[in-house]
Symmetry: D4
Subunit: 220 residues, 8 copies
């Protein structure tokens, strides 16, 4: 009756040509077999592939080699990819230490796209001097990814201090009325600082993809 | 069948003795007759009374004299009350010009309670220098009422800069995901700055009452 | 008691130097007098100023001349500003005819920042050919502002078709479960298309400011 | 005091005659004993029965034989039922690989009702060519069940491309503002494509039942 | 700067050929000029056009003749359309008298698509006999559109009584926790009756379009 | 095409016999003609009828005589009904003066059902002595209807003080996080006082109907 | 510093005298030691005590004997209590088999209060005959507790069929838009059937307490 | 590529001088290594440090000695800190026994700040005498921290009885419409008692910090 077990993955291999970045695989709801089918399709086309939201148990099931797995960011990469080197083109700022996994996901995604980045962790506004200390350095980057949970005040303060495009990544750090990241998200969207943009909660991957879109256009 | 038309107002005239402040009358859903019955009960006991959320049409219906009405704060006061003079004991800070009605409600309520205050309007964090300019002065006040709409980042920044008790009053200024003040409220509650407290959206009256509770205890 | 009536507007005149764009004035909750005080502060510093969410009744109260008012976008501009000319640098796409006011607000803001733009209105996905017809032209722009209400499917389809940075502006067009723009916003944030970014509901102004941040960096 | 332990299941055995489909048993909150009592009542009436949301541990407790259990769809069938053969009468489309369990639940339910179906998995709009490739084939089906999580843009695009009745099944695939399927659901309901209908989140069973209602009427 | 005033309407004139129904115009957020431009485009192609959510003030601005306006359903039709006659093919049931405008919108839309229908108004479950009285007649229709506000219990009861496809249209009738139609919508989606489908709140138009999709397939 | 204009009201005239109370007409979304058709059906059956949510403009359109209209409760009664006399059987308590319209709706409904009641208005917990003053009298009533907006603390305090069944009617009095009555409703439902029951926000009518159900059983 | 470990339980032993029922202990967030301290206080006063939300692990830690634990209802009783006998005074109806734990909690609570009850399980409206079969028997009870999850249509249907006071207990049975019981709760509150009352989700205990309040008054 | 593993913690060691209290470490989302890095930074500066939301497994990983861990409050303290002695300066009141962990967190935080406090546990309003018994003692404290879950009626009752500043800490105790503490929070914010202030759900730490701000100002 059901013959779908082997045809349930169709990688969009033309995506790179169309929008400048390959498809990645969000592994949360996928089985070991489905993840490996996606990897196989990419490798068969001689392409590298990025796996996100990949926990250690699923990572262990990936059969391709070599397989570059990073537990902090919960990402894995396989294929002919080589890590980029050189000057950082994107800054990644986080309000707290607990935002580290999202910072790392953004960094890994940028690296997968060939872009070096630099992170500035634990510079939240409750100790404003930490942010003011790095303000001039941050202002040099055309794109700054900012990660913050709780009330996300970092987004607005940053938006008033530097001219860069700031991509707000609300994080689910916090409890109670932090609402799993919704409060930080709403803060970014309703900010008094003009020209902030936001991506989904915890979406370090998406922020990195947006940065890639901007950098691609710049380098044309 | 229904004989309630004349017994539907019972002022709590002992409240002042019990908690240090008299009852005020929230006029939003009350008829002209009900408002005047409340005023009459207060005057009969030789007490002053504060009317809040009193629009101009309802204010015109108040028959007591003299009647001190302020259209910006939508408040009216009648009775033996005399406006306080002297050094301001509470600071009131607002993120934007549009928060003025709430600032004014807090000031009027404090004045009704006999407390002079000082306001600092339009010092939001998108232009951080405005706030830093008044930081040292603000830090001298034991209580600072902070009014902000949109994302309410002012609360967190202030909380990291001064030791005063900061009473956050989220305002309904903004649109979309500002959600009629809910985002600013959630920001105050989920703030990374420790020891912020919040009152209801647009509740300048309540913030002033909280300040009164604190000042009463201090002066004992 | 209250002496705030004349000091409740503090324009952030250094903002242009700091982040590359001047402050604008959101007029929704401001009085005629407050709006004119903001205009006066800008003109006194020989700067142009943009007024947003300015309805016709408030526009009529502005005393500065010449005053360039646009009823569709609910914006007004005064000061030494001159409208830009030349090739469009930003594309603005909308799903439906009803999104026109937001498209116009984005265009006016870009123009205020000196950037010409081009609009593509009523190209929603229910008639997909309309979007495919302009896809190649859109793909040439480094930044595309996309405006859509209802379910906001335009954002995802566009994100899969072109490499540009797409700034999603959810609009409040629709009824019932369109939820005043929240469904379109959530669609942008949860999109299967990688690297979309979003601003607040109906925030054509903010999307234009984000575009300005990107273009400023590009032109360095 | 309580004598309900043996009379807490009353199968609606006349349902088939009344609405053209038998009752199924949602096993989520039921005990092993309750599930077996329901099965026994059906078999005693010589009827087949479908068990849904049946995890492997509960499936192991079912004592009837033969028992056809499918782990992907979390469904079990027992009784005189025979799987249907022949040409597919319903198409089931899914946006992503992760939607497979819901696709399978719909297929199993249709099979239980005697209807063959065909699935098209991983044809989401981020790679639009995948959907356009099968558009003509899909347009031949009177009923298309569409499964999508995240922002559910598939529903609207499909609705603009084919004349079939499209039954949208929002799935809980995604994170953050995907809101466990609510964003996809709201997208279906607020769609710019006319004549879409929706069922509950993850409700592959319900979509299949709706298809059965339509096919029954057609075959009269 | 802005030259969009005359190109902001692009009717999807091929829609009829593609999905079996023409586009309609939702007039809520459109100007008089925009509505008339849409009408003109349809008439120029010799097609009829349906205008929905058209209040009396906007209806008066329509210049095409003859123009068939119905105030109860807030709909207008112009062009070569002729009202259908003959046996009703769709039943429309409503729980209360207050749901009449939505019933009428569905009837008008069906008529615009060439389909006669029959309405059964005020047959809610608080007086169950009213529904049971018409049950046998309703069971003869392949498609039944059910309109209900408040708690929407009508949907579930109907779903257990007849084999037809039931398209639930939640209405915004009610107050408090009826939540402008959300409670009725959630009731339809979470119903214990299998195979119900739902459209947006107050969306009589959408329900009629879904019925049209079904009937088109039936008549092939 | 549409012949529903005269058959859209079907009064459930047997309801009294079935559940001990007649149907009432909620007038919010009904036209003048619909309201009068309902009245006519009741009078034709020689029954009295209660109209609720009837504003003054609609009340003026009622043609039946005599017509007993009460503006505070927004109710009208016509038919052979006679107001009850004698000892009050139900107590109605309200937290504030602003809850008066709901108190009155409950009283009118009880009177329509033949039950005298007694009201205790403005006895909220901020001045607890007001409630304690009437506690012993309230404890004598088998049923107490309690009306409160804002935070609804009255419900819990009352529930801990008296043995009567307490029917909580949350009111929409308040602003901000009072959330149009939802906070008071949630307080009633989550109360630490055991055995409270609640009806919809502002539903004085429903509370009175519940009281009627209890009293009917008692008098059997 | 903290000397609270032994004084954190203060049973309200006078509650029975005040409101006709003793306090019960909600065990969800309590430690073994706290539960046993509550039991000890009750037994020291020679009173019986009811423990609710008591899972099997916590039940095993109760040291009092004899201890009557019921796993289905997650309740335990100790002290001089004797189970009541005789004719049932309250009916408990549930829509589905999965609601059994809540039915059992209500029955146990009533029994603890000395009241026999009778349950009618799995009589939901999708198979309406099941409910109609017991309608006449149900109509004899002055109080009917109705338990339903999903869309809670049972409440409205029952409310239109019988004159008893119906206490709706929404249950968390269902998934997706059943919203953990909120949809059933909203259905009860927004019901078209007049005079329904509701308690908190899954609150079989509270419904039984409300019934006890009614029955106490009846027997005076 | 990523060199952030060792620089992701930047303690704000100047905070004490700036706002009168040191930073604390919220351990929920931090790794063992991150927690120890924070501790090391504090000890290197010869400062004490408070760790909150520290479960037993994480507490066991802390390597500093001596380490004062309290399992009830989930807090740990290390460094030169000495527990304060003397008269309590803050009262902490809780509605129920289940609120004990939050009471303890507040007490520990106050102690860390050098302030003795006194707790009054299980004095909820369902047994009002428990609260009235301690009212006079509570009224002597300038600051009272009140902890309550469910409907949070304690806040309003307390606010009407004593003149102290009352800091409401909503707790997540309760189920269903207690909504994990949101109902208690909304009750505090929408209270009819004037001058209540609130902190985040379960935020005993924040309430203590607010008390410290007030006490610091008092002692100046």
């Amino acid at each position: 009756m059901s013959d779908t077990s082997n045809n349930d993955v169709i990688l969009d291999l033309q995506r790179d040509a169309r929008i400048g970045m390959p498809e990645a695989v969000l592994c949360t709801s996928k089985t070991h077999a489905q993840i490996n089918r996606a990897v196989d399709q990419a490798l068969a086309a001689n392409k590298s592939i990025l796996l996100t939201h990949l926990n250690e148990e699923k990572a262990a099931s990936v059969t391709a080699t070599p397989f570059d797995y990073d537990a902090i960011s919960q990402t894995g990469i396989t294929g002919p990819w080589v890590a980029p080197t050189g000057t950082a083109k994107v800054a990644i700022v986080s309000a707290g230490t607990s935002d580290m996994p999202i910072v790392a996901e953004a960094q890994r995604t940028l690296a997968f796209h060939g872009t070096p980045s630099k992170s500035f962790v634990d510079v939240g506004v409750a100790g404003l001097w930490r942010l003011l200390n790095v303000r001039d350095e941050l202002a040099q980057f055309p794109v700054v990814i900012a990660v913050a949970g709780m009330e996300g005040a970092l987004f607005s303060v940053l938006g008033g201090l530097i001219p860069s495009l700031i991509i707000a990544v609300p994080s689910s750090v916090g409890y109670g009325m932090a609402r799993e990241g919704e409060t930080a998200l709403h803060s970014a969207l309703a900010s008094c600082a003009q020209g902030l943009v936001a991506v989904n909660i915890n979406n370090g991957y998406g922020a990195a993809c947006a940065a890639t879109r901007i950098l691609s256009a710049r380098s044309e």
